[in-house]
């Protein structure tokens, strides 16, 4: 598949601080790629270099075949940008605003279609200053879509949203993906990356610390599964599982072969007519992996 974004050895320094320290990224056309990391990790610096807002200090960057540092109109005509905080004229209506931005592009998307994708049909003739925060954010996405871009950048699209608004925003991103757009998003929410992205790169202190599909990020698919239950009375008969119960009577087993261990445990219990209270089988969440990968950063912020 074609590559939409290719980054090699990207570095960016501000005065004496190195915000991005040599990162490599590759985003395939049609994919949803999430750059995940805590605040101050270098996400926005990276995405703004890709968008052409910032000059890089070193490295190679190609976006849709262009070098974004050259700020060519032809590149800007094919990308859509949702920045972290941007405004529009508060006195224009939703439809007028989208229409204004449509006019900048060689082959814009039909006005009504753009408004529909972000679900602002009912607010079509409402002035921007009367929109809620979530609606304004959806208008941001509508503006980014106005030119029918091949590639969309979403910089922390749901930061500050309530859970309902986040779900709506996620649906919008799913709609965009269905339209075949390549999406590059930054986020510091694990669930967002997991729900939306085909591929995730975790950035911390300006470096990529892990990269891959969300299901196997940081060896998550290979990590040992945790089996946990309350030890029943008469536990001395329990099959040998290589662990001792904690003070609360809960036994935790880190199993490399959870299928076999579970079989032994459950068949033992069923044969004796007992139950394993509070039985849980837990895989490490993306959050666990993320906290482990970005751990040193947490103490700083």
């Amino acid at each position: 598949m074609a590559v939409a974004i290719d980054v090699k050895g990207l570095r960016k320094s501000y005065d004496d601080v190195e915000a991005v320290r040599g990162i490599d990224l590759s985003v395939e056309a049609g994919a949803v790629f999430a750059l995940l990391g805590p605040n101050g990790a270098g996400k926005t610096t990276t995405v703004e270099i890709l968008e052409g807002f910032r000059a890089r200090t070193a490295g190679e960057v190609t976006v849709l075949g262009f070098d974004p540092a050259r700020r060519e109109r032809a590149m800007r005509a094919q990308i859509g940008i949702v920045l972290q905080s941007t405004g529009v004229d508060p006195y224009l209506t939703v439809a007028e605003t989208v229409e204004l931005y449509r006019g900048y592009y060689p082959s814009p998307r039909p006005l009504d279609e753009v408004i529909e994708v972000v679900g602002l049909e009912e607010k079509r003739d409402t002035r921007v200053l009367k929109l809620s925060g979530g609606q304004q954010r959806r208008l941001d996405v509508a503006i980014a879509l106005a030119g029918d871009p091949r590639l969309l950048f979403l910089d922390e699209p749901t930061t500050g949203f309530d859970p309902g608004a986040r779900r709506n925003a996620w649906q919008v991103v799913k709609n965009l993906q269905a339209l075949g757009k390549t999406i590059f998003l930054t986020t510091h929410y694990m669930d967002e990356a997991q729900y939306l992205a085909n591929r995730v790169a975790v950035i911390a202190r300006g470096e990529i610390v892990a990269e891959g599909p969300p299901g196997s990020l940081g060896g998550r698919d290979l990590a040992r599964t945790l089996i946990r239950f309350r030890v029943p009375d008469g536990a001395e008969e329990l099959p040998q599982v290589g662990a001792t119960p904690g003070a609360d009577g809960m036994l935790e087993i880190h199993a490399e072969d959870p299928t076999r261990v579970l079989y032994e445990l459950t068949s033992w219990a069923v044969q004796r007519g007992r139950s394993l209270e509070g039985l849980e089988v837990v895989r490490p969440t993306l959050e666990d992996v993320y906290l482990e990968l970005t751990g040193a950063e947490e103490g700083r912020t």
Binding site: I79, I81, L83, Y91, Y104
Partner: protein, 255 residues
């Protein structure tokens, strides 16, 4: 779309938003007209001598307020509204689209010039209707049009330039007024400067563009001799403003 088409489109949308914003419509549009009515009503009955001619003070104010309108519509309005747009992130967003930067800025300047022309026409109609002001015609009208366009464009360029030193939107009215209000007073816009004005005040008038622009406007309304020198000095300030804006204009909030 052609770039000229894009610019005109930009003017149309800027205009739409301008009239819906009560603050910009009031301060840019109604304010100078209000001043005109107040000054002429309050001080319009006297006479003053300018360039060897006896002039009704009310007529003087028609010319002075026409100049004030242009400065408000171009310098003040552009400096404040562009700073607000910059801090709200509108400029940065626009910069991420294929719209050429100059098309955006030219659109704003053209819009300000149109508002300025409209205000001058209203001042002229008011002066003509109530205070027998001389309305430029014939060759004078052409010269008047030149100083008006050069002045409006120059003050708009200076408005863009001053955004480079305005730290944030909250500070913009303060910075803009601190730069323009003393000049308006020292250039005889609110209080006519007689020939006996202190020398340093007359030097301020000679150095800065406000007095020259007001003189050019007066030439049209009062029938005083028109000096191309005024046009040149105003234009020089405009070019300097444009060069400063080109060097230091910021598309992102300066935080």
């Amino acid at each position: 779309m052609s770039t000229a088409g894009l610019t005109l489109r930009q003017v149309r949308f800027t205009n739409k938003a301008f009239w819906r914003n009560p603050a910009s419509a009031f301060f840019t549009f109604a304010f100078p007209l209000m001043f005109l009515v107040i000054f002429t009503a309050l001080l319009g009955n006297g006479h003053l001598r300018l360039g060897g001619m006896e002039i009704r003070q009310s007529t003087y104010y028609v010319a002075a307020m026409a100049a004030f309108s242009v400065i408000t519509a171009c310098y003040t309005n552009i400096a404040i509204s562009v700073t607000f747009q910059r801090d709200a992130g509108v400029l940065k967003r626009t910069r991420g689209t294929p719209l050429p930067a100059w098309a955006y800025l030219t659109g704003r300047v053209i819009h300000a010039v149109i508002v300025a022309i409209l205000l001058v026409i209203l001042c002229a109609a008011f002066g003509r209707g109530f205070y027998h002001a001389h309305v430029p015609s014939g060759v004078t009208l052409w010269k008047f049009a030149v100083i008006l366009l050069v002045g409006a464009a120059s003050f708009a360029a200076l408005g863009l330039a001053v955004t480079a030193v305005i730290p944030n939107a909250d500070a913009s009215p303060a910075v803009v007024n601190a730069t323009i209000l003393p000049l308006l007073f020292l250039s005889g816009i609110f209080i006519p400067l007689g020939d006996d004005a202190p020398a340093w005040i007359r030097w301020v008038g000679r150095l800065f563009p406000v007095r020259h622009f007001a003189d050019g406007m007066s030439a049209g309304f009062l029938g005083l001799p028109f000096k191309w020198n005024d046009v040149l000095i105003v234009a020089a300030w405009g070019v300097a403003g444009l060069m400063l804006a080109a060097r230091s204009f910021s598309w992102e909030p300066r935080r």
